[in-house]
Symmetry: none
Subunit: 229 residues, 2 copies
DNA sequence: CCGCTTTGTCACGCAGATGTCACAATAACT
DNA sequence: AGTTATTGTGACATCTGCGTGACAAAGCGG
């Protein structure tokens, strides 16, 4: 089963080695040399798994893991820590932080692949980067593409994440607070009314294929994606 | 959502600034200049949230947080730490201690309010998403939908809450003041006769499916939802 | 460096929701 | 029947929540 895997590692040699092995195993690989850069990429690409080096320039690996696991939008992504020999006592701390597994350098490709497979097997079903479809509206997390009745739909990053969340949680009403948590992440300090504006933008983008009617307003409660009228 | 918030801060200037902002946002504010004093007040007032300065005279903030989280009576109270810039590496330690979030000084009122809102939201009891059904009348809190014999019923926000309360407390007679407490929230000063009007509106909305007969008037006592005629 | 896109916020306006009243209708009791 | 207490109901003046366009700041790619 191919998956999208993000590798956060500052040493180019190791980075390259890992990437090569993962691609060999049929995975898509996203490469980030620092936590800061990884952070920017995560929300757009929503990888299925994150390989995280323990030692990083700037924000440390453990800190970054905590951040990922603290954000409700990303906390379902499994994290595998890469630790060097001698940092073994830190493993415990790493697991406490929320890492799902760890691998001690140096490691064999076979070992890494096994760990990845194991972690992916127990990943949250809803975070699988699978294609979602509701009422002729299709969203593909892998290619980052949206089509309404096979016609391409152009969305900004936030609109994409918003629609993705709606489509993976259809029919249910989501309050503005919940949407801010789930789509923006709880580290954002954003006015609730901002959600309205993005709803508007999403609707406008969906207008050409009449799919804007799926996005419904529940007065005093929030928004909902539903095919029923 | 007004809440009771305790601010533990020794610098009067910052203390005052924070208190002003919180009051502006509609909260009740308890002010304590030291951990010792805060400790005495906590058990009496049981605040909904504690804003805790990292640096305090006497018992330090981190020590105090540990104490709060160690006491079974107070450990449910969320704590937000106030740290100065440069103490960033202590954040991890702070979170490990049990703080629910941290804010780095200097901070904007908006950021503080957002953090407070987020933390309070996290603690708020989730709305029970159980689907309720009485005599062919179904109400789903999750999707915010009401159907009478599978036919959609259109309700305003207040009517929805009113019906929800009735359906989760059927067969029992509710006085007007009880309904005001449970449906409107005891914060508002509202004429009791207003309940009558909303009962009327609820009945009118339920007429198409004859479910209006379920809403019964108990003269001199209040209203009741009952399937028995 | 510049232009383009994205993003968060705001102000304005409107449709719908809300609270209150006045009066009609009904029930309870004499 | 008459009287009084209680509830039903329509009307109405707000009030609120939401849609929408505009805009400035930030991000981004060339």
């Amino acid at each position: 089963m191919p998956a999208t895997i993000m590798v956060v590692e500052d040493e180019p040699a190791i980075q390259e080695l890992i990437a090569f092995n993962l691609k060999q195993a049929g995975h898509f690989v996203l490469e980030a040399p620092s936590a800061e850069q990884a952070n920017r990429m995560i929300k757009e690409t929503l990888p299925d798994l994150i390989l995280l080096d323990w030692m990083l320039p700037g924000m440390s690996g453990i800190e970054f893991a905590r951040k990922i696991k603290g954000d409700s939008y990303t906390k379902a992504i499994p994290v595998i820590m890469l630790t060097a020999r001698g940092e073994e006592q830190d493993k415990v701390k790493g697991l406490e932080t929320g890492a799902d597994d760890y691998v001690t350098k140096p490691f064999s490709p076979r070992e890494l692949n096994a760990r990845i497979k194991a972690v992916l097997r127990r990943r949250a079903p809803q975070m699988t980067g699978e294609l979602v479809e509701v009422a002729g509206l299709a969203l593909d997390p892998l290619t980052h593409r949206v089509t309404g009745h096979s016609a391409p739909v152009n969305l900004g990053p936030t609109e994409f994440r918003l629609l993705h969340f709606f489509m993976t949680h259809p029919e249910r009403v989501h309050s503005r607070s919940q949407l801010l948590d789930s789509v923006w992440g709880n580290q954002a300090y954003i006015e609730e009314r901002t959600v309205d504006v993005h709803i508007r933008r999403l609707r406008r983008a969906l207008e050409p294929t009449r799919h804007d009617a799926l996005v419904q307003t529940i007065r005093g409660a929030g928004y909902r994606l539903s095919q029923r009228v």
